[in-house]
Amino acid sequence: MYKYILKRILLMIPTIVGAAVIVFFLLRAIPGDVCELRMAGSGLYADPEAIKICQQNLGIDQPLYIQFFDFVWGFMTFDLGESMWTGKSITEEIGLRFELSLQVAIMATLTATVIAIPLGTISAIKQDTWVDYVVRIFSIAGIAMPSFWLGILIILGLLIATQKVTGTPWMPPIEYTPIWVDPFANLSQLVWPAMATGYRYSAVATRMTRSALLEVLREDYVRTARAKGLFEKLIINRHALKNAMLPVTTVIGLEFAFLMGGLVVTEQVFNLNGLGKLFVESVLNSDYTVTQSLVMLVAVVFILTNFVIDILYAWLDPRIRYA
């Protein structure tokens, strides 16, 4: 088991390096840079000399390989530098938003898991009964509905409901408060986006749980468990679910990693200042330093999530553990 974990950790290194190379060079392949955008972005004439000075200041006149090593070195020493657009420290800019995005992602994951596993299980056990149909409609609706649209509905619903009950409409707070400062204010802002994204997420995971369990229930060892005269509950919980959880873990993990950087529109709807928003801004501004830091951050989150999934796999399946 330790050997397995060590192997997985070592495997993360080339993956991260590969991601860094791709991110760095792809970004540079986009025509135009931050200086041109800043000075001539609106189609005005800009002095080529001024652009040159700007490029010198930001260091983007240097040969690519030097810029690349600067980037890698900065990443390794956790010094991400300053934003080329705003000049603020990137670590600070990202740090604040990372906290928010991470919290929403974790809350959405918890919501999804708590909903998906029981629902998927019931749906599989009661295959082709009305219970199964209800669950399937619930999960197909979740996949079909974009979470930003569900977000709009949630906000509207909140406004109307509070108007009806208290007389004054209430909206979730717009200002972000860290959870350790004021848990109530924090949750009353973030519960809603977590619900909106968690629903779609749970729909995907419910379907995966259902199909994985259905497959496992046809396995010979489940028949063996029945032939042994075990309780149906024990057969499902002990013999079937543990086997069915493998693909479900993957789906849940990948969705989590996706949420960390992919909540662009939902963040707009709830007016959250998260990573998704920063992402869009930095790309539009050709802000190399911020974009590459963000992409690297998301890449690292993906790689770490995959690592956790691998460990869970080993924990669930002894064949991997002892391989």
């Binding site: 005269g229 309780f231 002892y322």
Partner: protein, 333 residues
């Protein structure tokens, strides 16, 4: 001796999109206490389904037991509710399946898979159950049983896993074990070992055994009584000696001719049964074996032959059963 199990007119059908499959079509047989009974037939003749039907393990849908009774110690298992049949499964009647590679749960330890049954059926605590589990592993010939209990199925070879399955089948001291092709998936060398273990332990512990197989060699050596099945029906029954020395159904005769024999000259050709087993969704009129039979007479296409006695405990379902006597002599030469 009283009958432990009485199967009467059991019918199991599968309702599929291409029609109703009459997998088991009215079979009756008995198993006495401590006796070994074989169900023989080629693939798809309904022998496994008939075994699974006894413990009501037929997946429903698409399968359903549509008629008959299965009396075990006087009680009809088909009348029991889910909780009732659960108490019989593993405790009174246990099963050994064909595929040892897939019949054990890959993510649970051998120990857990053995002890959970004993804790449930015998009310043992974990410590007692673990001790007994180790004893049973010793009994089925697994060395180093204490360590094996902590291992997972993928640590064991196919033969070892089948031994674990046998230990599982024995551990709650059942009255009857149903072994569904227990050695088909194993190496020939391992097959004999597994069968010896089963025969030996079932005799020592006084457990009755139903062996389901297509291997006539297994039958000859291990079975007291033999039921030959074809297209969902039992077409001949007798003790192993009757079946070998005096087969009275053309299908049994054909099976015996299809087995390579060491004691015949090498230039002697095998004489297989022509054709394919019939489609169980549309069985022909009359005798189901008719189209492949060399002894067909007009009556075969009109009326289904029933099992009728031709001697003590020897029955055959063939209109020509009395004339087959001479043809059969060739086999035992």
């Amino acid at each position: 001796m009283p009958n432990l199990l009485e199967v009467r007119d059991l019918k199991t059908q599968f309702f599929t999109s291409s029609g109703t499959v009459r997998a088991v079509d009215g079979i009756s047989y008995d198993v006495e206490e401590g006796e070994t009974v074989a169900l023989v037939g080629e693939s798809g003749c309904g022998k496994s389904v008939s075994a699974l039907s006894i413990l009501r393990l037929i997946p429903n849908p698409p399968g359903r037991i549509v008629g008959g009774s299965v009396r075990f110690m006087g009680q009809n298992l088909l009348d029991l509710n889910d909780e009732g049949i659960r108490h019989v499964r593993g405790r009174q009647i246990s099963m050994v399946f064909q595929e040892p590679m897939t019949s054990l749960n890959p993510v649970l330890t051998i120990g857990l898979q053995l002890t959970e049954m004993m804790e449930l059926h015998l009310g043992l605590n974990n410590e007692e159950a673990t001790r007994k589990a180790a004893e049973y592993l010793d009994m089925v010939g697994i060395a180093d049983s204490k360590r094996r209990l902590k291992q997972y199925p993928h640590h064991l070879s196919g033969g070892m896993r089948q031994r674990v399955m046998i230990a599982m089948a024995l551990c709650c001291e059942p009255r009857l074990i149903i072994a569904d092709e227990p050695t088909t998936a194993l190496d020939v060398t391992i097959q004999a070992q597994i069968l010896e273990v089963m025969k030996d332990l079932s005799q020592r512990l006084g457990v009755a055994l139903i062996i389901i197989t297509h291997n006539l060699g297994v039958v000859a050596r291990y079975a007291d009584r033999v039921n030959v099945m074809y297209a969902g029906k039992i077409i001949e029954r007798g003790n192993a000696r009757d079946i070998y020395k005096n087969p009275r159904h053309p299908y049994t005769l054909g099976l015996l001719h299809s087995v390579p024999r060491m004691d015949l000259p090498r230039k002697e050709k095998l004489d297989p049964i022509d054709g394919q087993p019939p489609d169980l969704t549309k069985l022909p009129e009359g005798c189901a074996f008719r189209v492949r039979c060399r002894y067909e007479v007009e009556k075969c296409g009109v009326e289904v032959p029933h099992l009728e006695s031709i001697g003590t405990g020897h029955l055959s379902a063939c209109w020509q059963k009395n004339d087959l006597h001479n043809a059969a002599a060739g086999v035992s030469s």
